[in-house]
């Protein structure tokens, strides 16, 4: 029997398609279904050409196939507005939900920081925060695991072409969700997030700045080592994650300057912000599959 967990992707847009391409290379996750709501959508046609089953009637259209196809994981790349219902329906059937929307129904998941805990606890819904969160929270955590951080601030700069209409219509959700996760996952007592959209052509690579204020004088050697180790952890699933400058110390301020180059699967390489979301989402599901194969967790029973 294959150790791979079978998966459904909800939302055949840029994120869903990029995720599908990455998943086709995965040793742990097998894409089976792509779900949309428009039979004419390009994304569903692409998925069909890539050899997976498609459904154009939303999540309701696949519920009857979940058991017969042994679907164990779902990735929601739709919107915060419909996520809660999608998750409820699939969780009921024992499907683990990886949430790529800003809905944040389940706990935040930033793989190198807290994925192991979520997998061990068999969390049935985990939320992937935001692209800016995935790119920066590992660095906040790299500082806070050395010594207490009283304030963490991240600035994510992304190319205009890589920011879709959903994010644009609700940009406050990005700043709020990211700031919340800088606190909850990054370990800063107070979090702040800023997003800047830059329209330069050719499009600029995603870049991120992370500033932390430590409560006491920063242990420069320990923080530097921790930051470099964390960069390596992220590079396991996003090879183009680079520390360009830093950590730089100025009083109690610790600053890191990152660049995130994507793999260039469906999304262009400059869209590291989208790539880091799909890569982190897939990494999350893979960890659940590994833990299930090791017998550390037991997936919901099926007759």
């Amino acid at each position: 029997m294959s150790k791979k967990l079978k998966a459904v992707i909800i939302g055949p847009g840029n994120i869903g398609t990029d995720l599908l391409m990455k998943m086709q290379r995965s040793e742990w996750i097998e894409p089976v279904w792509m779900v949309g709501i428009d039979p004419e959508s390009e994304g569903l046609k692409r998925a069909e050409e890539m050899g997976i089953k498609t459904c154009a009637t939303g999540v309701d259209g696949i519920l009857s196939h979940v058991i017969e196809d042994d679907i164990r994981v779902a990735f929601d790349a739709t919107s915060a507005y419909v996520h809660a219902e999608n998750s409820r329906k699939l969780n009921e059937l024992g499907v683990i939900m990886v949430d790529l929307t800003p809905a944040a129904v389940g706990p935040f998941c930033v793989p190198p920081v807290n994925l192991a805990d979520h997998a061990k606890n068999l969390e049935m819904n985990v939320n992937m925060v935001t692209c800016g969160g995935q790119a920066t929270i590992p660095m906040v955590a790299a500082v806070s695991r050395v010594q207490p951080v009283e304030y963490g601030e991240i600035i994510a700069t992304v190319s205009s072409r890589s920011v879709g209409p959903g994010t644009r219509q609700n940009i406050d959700e990005f700043t709020r969700t990211t700031a919340g996760a800088v606190e909850k996952v990054g370990g800063a007592k107070e979090g702040k997030a800023i997003i800047i959209i830059n329209p330069a052509e050719p499009p600029l690579m995603m870049r991120d700045t992370i500033h932390c204020l430590t409560e006491s004088e920063p242990d420069q050697a320990a923080i530097t080592e921790s930051v470099h180790a964390m960069v390596k952890e992220v590079q396991k699933y996003v090879p183009g994650y680079t520390l360009v400058n830093g950590p730089i110390f100025d009083g109690n301020k610790v600053s890191c300057f990152m660049q995130v180059e994507g793999l260039g699967d469906f999304l262009p390489k400059y869209a590291g912000n989208l790539d880091i979301m799909t890569a982190a989402g897939l990494r999350t599901a893979e960890m659940f599959a590994e833990e299930a194969a090791n017998g550390t967790i037991t997936l919901p029973a099926r007759g």
């Binding site: 304030y151 219509q169 940009i171 052509e201 500033h211 830093g246």
Partner: protein, 342 residues
């Protein structure tokens, strides 16, 4: 140029754009005394917030001496006639800040986006309009795109509920003909009930000339700051502009001698450095770089030994936009490494 008989609403920036030049450290007493003196001089509209708008408090832009709420709560109740405005940059501040400002008695909200990214302002403009505030769409770095693009973005903001649209020369790059083209197209194509405004910086020494061109092309609101206290080489110096407008027969409602006194007696004495077209401020205008980058580039020069002018030119070449202050230290570090300085 004949502007005789026109009426213009002046909007003071010294307590918001001026916050950049003061590293966001203006005291509550200074805010109240300057705003009160401007009110007394007949200034109709005064902006008060962190330099980067509501929610700008950050390591990236600077921690202010006081919160936006403290500044607004101190200033608004003291105004007899002047109205207070607040700036909001989506991506930095949120609708929560906007509601706070409304609760503090702010009457004008200006929602600022880069000139090609107006669609991030729908939530904020929509909310301000719904709360029946005077709602302004503020298109920054307007020198970077064509008049047609500015118009397209302006129409989006009008669609969300803005009743006034600004073409904003954040880099102080524009020359008068460009102002004429951009403001002229907005005035010609936007509905007549939508006001058009211009916000200038004096980095190329053109702020007064540009503001006059804007009025001639149909702008009815002009930003400036008393004594020019603003980012870069400052904004259009309002006491100078008032004198020019008075000679040209344009009605502003501002008392010239009183506003001259605010400039000389209150604002100039609190400047940390002269606000003038020095070589770095001139570079901002020449290279088309966001004006508030000035002091950050100068600090990076001191720290890493790379000339502020070289940093600013490179920032311009890379197409940086408003808010990318974090890029300055990053770039200075990279340049210092390349030169073997660190």
């Amino acid at each position: 140029m004949n502007l005789n008989g026109k009426t213009v609403t002046l909007h003071d920036m010294s307590l918001r754009d001026g916050m950049h030049a003061k590293r966001h450290q203006i005291s509550l007493d200074q805010m109240v005394s300057i705003a009160s003196a401007m009110d007394e001089a007949g200034m109709p509209l005064i902006e008060v917030t962190h330099g980067d708008g509501l929610g700008g408090r950050s390591l990236n832009y600077g921690f202010p001496a006081h919160s936006d709420e403290e500044y607004l709560s101190a200033v608004v109740p003291k105004m007899k006639n002047a109205k207070i405005s607040a700036l909001l940059l989506p991506g930095i501040g949120t609708v929560d800040h906007l509601k706070m400002a409304k609760d503090c008695g702010v009457s004008t909200i200006r929602v600022a986006t880069h000139c090609t990214e107006a669609d991030v302002s729908e939530q904020h403009i929509g909310m301000a309009a719904k709360m029946e505030m005077d709602t302004v769409g503020f298109l920054m770095m307007a020198h970077m795109v064509s008049p047609e693009k500015i118009l397209e973005q302006a129409k989006l903001m009008v669609g969300y509920g803005a009743n006034c649209i600004y073409a904003t020369d954040s880099a102080g790059y524009m020359l008068p003909d460009e102002v004429t083209a951009k403001i002229g197209l907005l005035r010609a194509e936007l509905p007549s009930n939508i006001e058009v405004g211009f916000h200038g910086h004096h980095n190329m020494g053109m702020a007064i000339a540009n503001s006059l061109a804007a009025i001639e092309a149909g702008a009815s609101r002009i930003d400036g700051s008393v004594a020019g206290l603003g980012a870069g080489a400052g904004n259009t110096p309002l006491e100078v502009f008032c004198a020019v407008l008075e000679r040209m027969g344009v009605e502003t409602g501002v008392d010239l001698y009183k506003i001259m006194d605010v400039a000389e007696d209150l604002i100039v004495p609190m400047m940390d450095q002269p606000i003038r077209v020095d070589r770095n401020a001139l570079t901002l205008g020449y290279a088309g770089v966001y004006s508030s980058f000035l002091l950050f580039a100068e600090r990076a020069e001191k720290k890493y030994g790379i000339s502020a002018r070289d940093i600013l030119v490179e920032l311009g070449r890379r197409g940086t936009v408003g808010g990318q202050e974090d890029m300055i230290e990053d770039l200075a570090l990279t340049m210092a490494k390349e030169k073997g300085l660190i």
